[in-house]
Symmetry: C2
Subunit: 108 residues, 2 copies
DNA sequence: TCTATTGTTAAACAATTATTAAATTGTCAG
DNA sequence: CTGACAATTTAATAATTGTTTAACAATAGA
């Protein structure tokens, strides 16, 4: 089980519109990753701002990076995301993952 | 599918140690809810601070409240939590919820 | 009604976060 | 080596967030 502090860090990293968009873009782009500049262009974010957000995501363990020539390729790391979802699922329903879904059915 | 902005709001609400602890306590305490004072005592949080955090959680739709006499009982609302987990699961693995688990197996 | 209890609100403040512009590092091509 | 390119770092600033104290509402009970 992931530690609470690490979960908070991961949640905080994703709790920002630009960073959530970055993460989604990386997830959709596969394991080879996307160059920082491409992300900047696609999401219309200034390079310095993007670096700042990458650092936050990276520090939370949500993304990996690899340098290739002048480019830095970022990719999603699913381990932390998975741990986070597992933590939420378990702590959302008191060990019964289906409880939420049942609640959801009742309320939709 | 939950909107991205609502997901960000829910993530932000939980991305704080005290609020995550509050939510977990409410989840563990069942649908009847817990009085604010009990939460304050259990988590050792000042009343005003707790009210502030309850407001954030409430505004994100993660908790419900009901007044009973002098007491205000808070309870977890699973609908938003469930929507959030569903959003993350879908956007984490590009529509394939198992991808994360497989990645996890590889990295553990 | 008076008083104690429960909880929220308001104001002030410290700490953190997000953004920008400018300077810096590292890499490649000529 | 030089110049251009890709990205990060730094410094400054604005905005947001978390906490505390004090004041405020609402309810219950004597």
């Amino acid at each position: 089980m992931m530690k609470s502090a690490q979960v908070v860090k991961a949640l905080a990293a994703l709790a920002q519109p630009t960073r959530l968009a970055i993460y989604r873009l990386l997830v959709a782009s596969g394991p080879e990753g996307v160059a920082a500049g491409q992300v900047a262009e696609r999401l219309k974010v200034a390079p310095a701002t993007l670096s700042f957000h990458f650092k936050t995501l990276s520090h939370a363990g949500l993304v990996d990076s690899r340098q290739d020539g002048r480019f830095v390729y970022y990719s999603a790391n699913f381990a932390v995301m998975n741990g986070m979802v597992a933590y939420l699922t378990e702590n959302c329903c008191g060990g019964n993952p289906d409880a939420c879904k049942q609640t959801n059915i009742n309320e939709n």
